[in-house]
């Protein structure tokens, strides 16, 4: 982890609307079987060992490479096929908002740092709108920017200019 870009971090916002029940949406984030059913990422499955859906509650899970390609890739990189992730629900308002703060302490050569995922839920008729705001990567500088209220700034700018396509 020594390139300039790797030392940086940005914040990205993604919005999705689902035709669904808010209870089901909320459960996918806050129950063991719900969380395990989708978190991934691609090529990985998760096994939740602890999930306490309250402010300050723990979210601990094992990320396990589960496709032959991913297992081979991890082996080639000299990384174990699974690693434990220690997270915490740092904000939680049932069916409205939650923030998961991940402690990133498993990257060799990088001082442990925190990485946040904030999710806002809104019921709109038969749909649930979900806004996910997440940190792309870390650096002291970007952490400082976030503290100063930079969150969602990139998205605003993105809207101003549209995509490059």
């Amino acid at each position: 982890m020594n390139t300039a870009a790797e030392a940086q971090r940005g914040t990205v916002v993604i919005e999705r609307s689902y035709r669904a029940n808010i209870g089901d949406v909320w459960d996918l984030w806050t129950t063991k079987d719900g969380f395990e059913s989708w978190w991934g990422p691609q090529g990985f499955r998760v096994e939740v060992s602890k999930l306490e859906a309250r402010v300050g509650g723990a979210l601990r899970y094992e990320m396990i490479a589960d496709s032959p390609e991913m297992i081979a890739a991890m082996k080639q990189m000299g990384s174990p096929a699974s690693h434990a992730v220690n997270s915490r629900f740092t904000e939680l308002e049932p069916r409205q908002r939650l923030v998961i703060t991940n402690l990133i302490d498993f990257i060799p050569g990088v001082t442990p740092y925190e990485n946040r995922v904030a999710v806002d839920f809104k019921v709109q008729g038969a749909q649930v709108r979900m806004v996910v705001t997440f940190d792309a990567m870390h650096s002291d500088q970007m952490t400082q920017m976030q503290k100063e209220g930079f969150t969602s700034q990139l998205t605003k700018l993105d809207k101003r200019f549209g995509s490059a396509a």
């Binding site: 940005g10 689902y18 669904a20 996918l28 920017m145 100063e148 990139l154 605003k156 993105d158």
Partner: protein, 119 residues
Amino acid sequence: MLMQLDAFQALADPTRRRIVETLLAGEQQVADVVAKAGIHQSGVSRHLRILHDSGFVSMRPDGQRRFYALQPAPFRELEGWLAPYRELWEARLDRFGAALEERGKQRLAKEAKEGKKRS
């Protein structure tokens, strides 16, 4: 890579971010930037120069006046750098949607079954 670092450094300063936010409304001269951004006159030239040098802002002279406007290229660079993270989350939220649909079906099936038992 160097471009991206410069872009982040240019925006790392809160005053420069306020200038950028102010220019989102369109091309403006320095006095308007100072007034609308609520920043101090001193140092504004330096901030505009840094934004200009890093490609965020263009300058158009018109007689004695100088007009500043945002340029899209560095914003697209930032966006391009963030794209892999966006893709990871888009894929994750696709799976979220699929899991949600499955969960909804299971809940409805369960409710129907329980409804039958009660009736």
